[in-house]
Symmetry: C2
Subunit: 209 residues, 2 copies
């Protein structure tokens, strides 16, 4: 890619990146036109080709960028260091949502890229992913103390169920298109509180109305 891309004002860079995220998140790789990305970003197609030699390069640049940004932001906010499960989930979700304020389609783009099957990019997508993944192979969920939770509860199922609900929520929001991060934050906070109240071991004789 052309390093002059970084000389652009940051807003313009982000406009291009977001345009890429958006178009590639709506269509498969093959059916995502460069012209549409350029138009969405507010620049000409020629200029887009001036910064990225071809479509494949732009795509892989975006994929790398999304992964890099996510890991960076997670580290910066100490998401990999939380002891409490709910804190960890909340922190992680907060970071993701905060990210989506700057890059509304980064989540959906990542998911589609992860499952992209086009042979032109498939292999390299996985190569890049593994590069970022090996940094944080999280076996940390195994280190939960069952005494903190409802007696007899299946911790694996509990975690999976929370994960699924989060995914379902995100997915539902993304489908509708109008993303309000603040509202999502509130919704998610409510969900976490709900889980906390239900799943955690009750202190003896606590509040029951």
């Amino acid at each position: 890619m052309n390093p002059k891309f970084y000389n652009l004002p940051i807003e313009k860079q982000q406009a291009v990146i977001n345009a890429g995220f958006h178009v590639f998140s709506q269509n498969s790789y093959k059916k995502s036109p460069m012209s549409e990305i350029a138009e969405t970003a507010g620049i000409s197609k020629s200029l887009l080709f001036h910064y990225f030699t071809n479509k494949k390069e732009l795509y892989l640049f975006l994929w790398d960028t999304s992964a890099r940004i996510t890991v960076e932001e997670m580290e910066k906010n100490g998401c990999y260091e939380q002891a409490d499960l709910f804190d960890s989930m909340e922190k992680g979700m907060q970071v993701k949502l905060e990210l989506m304020r700057k890059y509304p389609d980064i989540g959906m783009f990542s998911i589609r890229a992860f499952y992209e099957k086009d042979p032109e990019v498939r292999d390299e997508v996985h190569k890049i992913m593994n590069h970022y993944l090996q940094i944080h192979a999280a076996a940390k969920l195994a280190a939960l103390d069952p005494d903190d939770f409802l007696p007899g509860i299946d911790l694996d199922l509990m975690y999976r169920e929370m994960y699924l609900a989060s995914e379902g929520y995100l997915w539902e929001k993304m489908q509708s298109g109008n993303i309000d991060v603040t509202e999502m934050e509130q919704d998610f906070r409510k969900l976490i509180d709900f889980w906390k109240a239900i799943y955690m071991r009750k202190p003896k004789g606590a509040d029951e109305k």
Copy 2:
């Protein structure tokens, strides 16, 4: 559409329908080629155009079919008559899953059609949907007895959380592509049991290990 379509052997009809569900569930309306649908169904493009005069007609036929089939199947299995919430959820999900055994992409197709923005089909999609929707405006969730559940639990949130988890699960499975309905049924049964064990009012002095 050409009524001779119904003279086809049922497997062939279903092949066409499933091919349509599949292609339209992967791409937007505009970017779903008729040729790909024909090829997936194992017939020639010409024949497809022989049964459906144009793309729009095929699309709306599929949309109507998916809605009709779903409502029919729900009614046939008494999904709209369950008293217990969990039974109702389980029954409904079972029907959906059973449907997906016959029409693997019907779920994803419905979702995409619901959010389709192309002006060529948008209005009529909503018209058809409302036609089927008004039959079953479900206000029945309001009729829950709080005494059946954990004291103080927020029933709305509980229901929403279960709904989200189901959506998230379906969405996750659909992304990966390889759909095993039997496995999904087991997974979902587990989730329901999990919810039941957690959310329902405990009988006094019941099993705690």
